[in-house]
């Protein structure tokens, strides 16, 4: 019997891989949960596109500062060592390859690491891109966190993205509810699978060919 990971568990799993001292941008949604689970002995520096480096946890109720918010417009705090800068410099950091990691949500990721995470195919609501394309194009590594399939069971890991692209060939690793997958020039390598899941089951729920790494292991869930 397979236990798919919850959103919290996906975030928890990804958090274990963030290196000490890394500069990290957490995308809107699921990725923002990651900050809660990074091991306490690691010092991770969080970046926000509106000009903050060194964000700390959410403020205690009543101490919120309207001028300290993150990209999701949530209140944040500053850690000792934090810095404030203007938007253009914030994007110098993003576009210029200065961030070690961007953890992003996605609608789809392709076999080649193409990322689709900014626009749905819905024409009625206005589109919004924000900093998604800059971040995807510029971070040293992009990791995607997402459910392995859509709510109605269609794969999100696909041969070619059907949603509008955010950037081509940028995703290096995918953390899903079912697996941890590396995107490599030689294809998609499954590093970890949810406990109880077989490779064939995983492949059946994936829209692009997978390869099982020799040293694969079950995802460790607390």
């Amino acid at each position: 019997m397979t236990t798919a990971l919850s959103r919290t568990q996906i975030a928890r799993r990804a958090a274990q891989d963030i290196p000490d001292g890394a500069y990290v941008n957490l995308g809107i949604g699921l990725p923002t949960l990651v900050a809660n689970f990074v091991p306490k002995d690691r010092e991770v520096i969080y970046h926000s596109e509106n000009g903050i480096l060194g964000m700390g946890p959410a403020p205690a109720p009543g101490t919120e500062d309207p001028d300290l918010i993150n990209a999701s417009k949530q209140y944040v705090t500053l850690l000792p060592g934090a810095s404030i800068f203007h938007h253009t410099d914030a994007f110098v950091m993003m576009r210029g390859g200065h961030l070690d990691l961007a953890l992003l949500g996605a609608f789809e990721v392709s076999r080649a690491g193409d990322l689709a995470n900014w626009a749905t195919l819905d024409d009625k609501t206005p589109p919004g891109v924000g900093g998604a394309m800059d971040l995807a194009a510029g971070a040293k590594a992009v990791w995607v966190l997402m459910d392995h399939t859509t709510k109605d069971g269609r794969p999100r890991i696909v041969e070619h993205c059907t949603y509008p692209l955010t950037a081509r060939g940028v995703v290096k690793r995918i953390y899903t509810s079912l697996a941890v997958i590396d995107v490599t020039p030689d294809g998609l390598f499954v590093r970890e699978m949810a406990p109880g899941l077989s490779f064939d089951d995983l492949q059946a729920r994936t829209g692009a060919p997978l390869r099982l790494a020799n040293d694969w292991r079950p995802i460790a869930i607390d």
Partner: protein, 228 residues
């Protein structure tokens, strides 16, 4: 004597013309020059192009400006912040044009205008719908999209402190687009919570040197943006 202070909000926005490109600072509700936007509404200029990261939320400030119907076009990275109801209504009704620009490209295009550059190549957006129709060039093996400067006729800025030369400092992340917009517009108008004596700001910590600022008006108790 160089004195950029003006007495009233009406003086601050005087002369903004119909058809102007207006850069409006702020990100979410932080750094929005609420009082200047309402002064612009009262001033009455129409057929405006507004450049702002978001499309306003609630019914005040940027949303109120949009609601007047005087904004022909919005150049923006993310018009769908929660509460952007006014924009969504106008957009659904086909009553406003939207030019969607990746946020870093938006900021960099304004910087290019301020810096006197003719354009730049960015890796952002290559291979996406937002690069459609744009020149793509391979430089050192990587593809880049050509982007052009985005200049404002006017910029509306909110600062924390200013002096009579127009030197500015901001408050926290309310800084966001303001320093870039200040340099990208022909007429940069600032509302400052506090106006200090010349020399009171440390030269090394001034964020926007006064050369980028044209008018400063004192707004001691600025309202929060995005109110219902």
């Amino acid at each position: 004597m160089l004195d950029k202070r003006v007495k009233t909000l009406a003086d601050a926005v005087a002369g903004i013309k119909d058809g102007a490109v207006v850069l409006i600072a702020g990100f979410g509700s932080s750094g929005i020059p609420v009082e200047l936007i309402h002064a612009l509404i009262d001033q009455g200029a129409r057929d405006l192009t507004v450049v702002s990261n978001n499309a306003g939320s609630g019914r005040t400030d940027l949303a109120a400006l949009l609601a007047t119907g005087r904004v022909r076009k919005l150049i923006c990275s993310y018009p769908k912040t929660s509460g952007s109801v006014v924009f969504e209504e106008l957009y659904a009704a086909g009553k406003i044009e939207l030019e969607l620009v990746p946020q870093g490209t938006l900021s960099e295009r304004m910087r290019a205008a301020g810096a006197g550059l003719g354009g730049f190549y960015t890796p952002t957006g290559v291979g996406t719908d937002l690069a459609k129709g744009k020149e793509v060039r391979k430089i050192n093996g990587r593809e880049y999209v050509f982007e052009t400067p985005l200049k404002g006729d006017v910029a509306l800025i909110k600062a924390e402190r200013a002096d009579r030369w127009g030197n500015l400092v901001y408050r926290g992340a309310a800084r966001n687009f303001a320093p870039t917009m200040a340099m990208a517009a022909d007429l940069t108008i600032v509302q400052a919570r506090e106006i200090v004596e010349l020399g009171a700001l440390d030269p090394e910590t001034i964020v926007t040197p006064g050369i980028f600022v044209d008018r400063v008006v004192h707004v001691p108790n600025p309202a929060a943006a995005g109110q219902p």
